[in-house]
């Protein structure tokens, strides 16, 4: 297995630049997930690592060797495509053994390796079938099998689960994670599904519009998103944001007032230096406490516009402080549309971002 290093890599299609200087170190045996909204350049970056896309600028190194001009055949990476790209004219066994047969391996050896991979992936019964006679999940497994048969330097995945239904996706997600624990293979995994990213990754790379927004472990990203974009992208339901201006009270404690209610929200000490600055306050729906109550001045009050019961938790959609606010709680709440609730924000769970740059301030 191997490390992959990406140094100031850029990509342009003619005048259109889609990647602006990407820097990333992927260490041996690491599982890195690239996430970001559609069109942000995840696939492009992955395909550049694979050698399927020309590198416009910068360097890609595998185990310290610059491989910009090495053709995909010689990079010794395996890739699982979104479409699976199974060879339609070959059986499952032939699909999985193709790379070995190309490298001149003998028949018995191919058979043995394919058999082992098939066992890991529960494909033993399908080896003689053609891809068109397989279900979606089975095809997905064959695509994985094709990758693991040959023990490559690293695995690349481009949204491998996006063609599966929700249940199968959850299942395959777990299988991929287990597979990684068995094989310990360096992996780069592209997805736009943040749950997939959170559950699979050792480290997540959040991308936006051709740039890396933040790199970190799932928990890091969740607890301390470094930009407003990451904060909004990671976590479900999406984080709530309130805009306002940092003010200081008579004791010079920083606070912010929200909406028309003029309710005070105290801010951490550190925000003293930012008095007068326009900020966005982010708070996750899980970190807002809602209590049914009559409107009270000085509190943030919201009226319920939608109640979603998922069984485990209750989601409330409120209008408060002149905007929409989402609240999630583990408790069963007995509220109905039109009811009033008082909200309190957990002070140590506030994420404060500069309104202009979107950078984290606390």
């Amino acid at each position: 297995m191997s490390s992959i290093e990406i140094r100031n890599v850029t990509k342009s299609y003619g005048a259109l630049q889609v990647l602006h200087g990407i820097d990333l170190n992927i260490v041996d045996e690491e599982f890195v997930v690239l996430v970001g909204p559609s069109g942000c350049g995840k696939s492009t970056l992955l395909r550049m690592i694979a050698g399927l896309e020309e590198i416009s600028g910068g360097d890609v190194l595998i185990d310290g060797d610059r491989i910009n001009d090495v053709s995909p055949q010689k990079r010794d990476l395996a890739m699982v495509f979104q479409s699976y790209a199974l060879y339609p004219h070959m059986t499952v066994a032939e699909n999985m053994g193709f790379s070995l047969s190309l490298s001149g391996a003998k028949k018995p050896q191919i058979q043995k390796e394919v058999g082992e991979a098939a066992k890991i992936l529960h494909l033993e019964d399908y080896l003689e079938r053609l891809p068109k006679n397989l279900s979606g999940g089975q095809r997905q497994r064959v695509a994985m099998g094709r990758a693991i048969v040959r023990d490559p330097k690293a695995f690349l995945f481009d949204e491998p689960l996006s063609n599966l239904d929700a249940k199968l996706r959850t299942h395959m997600r777990a299988e991929i994670r287990q597979l990684h624990q068995t094989l310990n293979a360096t992996s780069v995994y592209v997805t736009h599904d943040q749950i997939e990213a959170m559950t699979l990754a050792d480290r997540i790379v959040v991308m936006n519009a051709g740039r890396i927004e933040q790199v970190g472990s799932p928990i890091e990203l969740f607890d301390t998103p470094m930009t407003k974009f990451v904060a909004g992208f990671i976590g479900a339901p999406t984080m709530n944001f309130f805009d306002g201006c940092v003010q200081a009270d008579v004791d010079a404690n920083p606070y912010i007032t929200l909406g028309a209610d003029n309710s005070h929200v105290p801010l951490p000490e550190g925000m003293k230096n930012h008095v007068g600055q326009q900020v966005s306050i982010g708070i996750r729906p899980q970190h807002i406490l809602a209590e049914p109550a009559a409107p009270e001045s000085g509190m943030i009050t919201g009226s319920v516009s939608l109640v979603e019961q998922t069984g485990c938790e209750t989601n409330l959609l409120l209008s408060a402080a002149g905007q929409q606010v989402t609240v999630q709680t583990k408790e069963r709440m007995n509220v109905a549309t039109g009811d009033w609730v008082n909200l309190s924000l957990k002070a140590d769970c506030l994420h404060i971002f500069d309104q202009g740059t979107g950078r984290r301030l606390n």
Partner: protein, 276 residues
Amino acid sequence: MSSKAKFSLLCWGALMPLMVVILFPYATMLSTALKRKDEIFQFEISWLPDGLYLGNFVELFVNRGFGQAIFNSIYISVGATLVSLLVALPAAYALSRLKLPGKSTFRTYLLITQMISPIVLIVGLFRLFAYLGMINDLNALVFAHSAFYMAFAVWMLQSYFDTIPKDLEEAAWMDGASRFASFRRVFLPLCLPGIAVTSLFTFVNSWNEYAMALTILRDGSLQTAPVRIAFLTGTLYETEWNIIMAATLIATLPVAIVFASIQSYLIRGLSLGGVK
């Protein structure tokens, strides 16, 4: 009667007039080819021949050198198919798969070659081959046909190639296949049907071509089947229709069968590539 059966009857009824007009000459061909010479010129002509008379075919091959004409036609058609495939395959592959400067210019160029009919150029073609010393040379026709039918081959092949996902080749590269290996072991097996249809189409077109063959092959022993047959009408005082129809039947039937077998692919091929 089920409603589909009724509907089918309606459809066949609507197509019937055209079918009669299309099939009428074939009936004529068949009935005449199996008749004796004197049966045709009888006062009372009839549809059915008196008996299955195969003498016309024997006469054709033994005394009229029709075997030679068939051979010439096969030589030219096979040659033209191979040559046009040889130049069209890489061109279609490049159009479908590769970055290429001037791609759209090349497309326009192909369209223009289709706008120019060989017959408008016939005088120039004659001079070209005279200059190359290739008048009365079957190879001249091989090259002429492949040049004029190449554009269509490129279109058909390209539209077929476009249906093969690029992913598959990329997957092969990732599996370590060289460009050539992925072409041979993944791409080629998948587009073989398209190549086959294109070849047959080119073959049929070349087999049937008349004007260039008439003009460039002046020598009787080099004539292709269609030219030979047309000449049979003019050589004798009285036209021997029975012989001619027998010849037409031989020259037509095999290609018609080939053509019928690829007919459904043609519709798909043209619908994919034709308009874009």
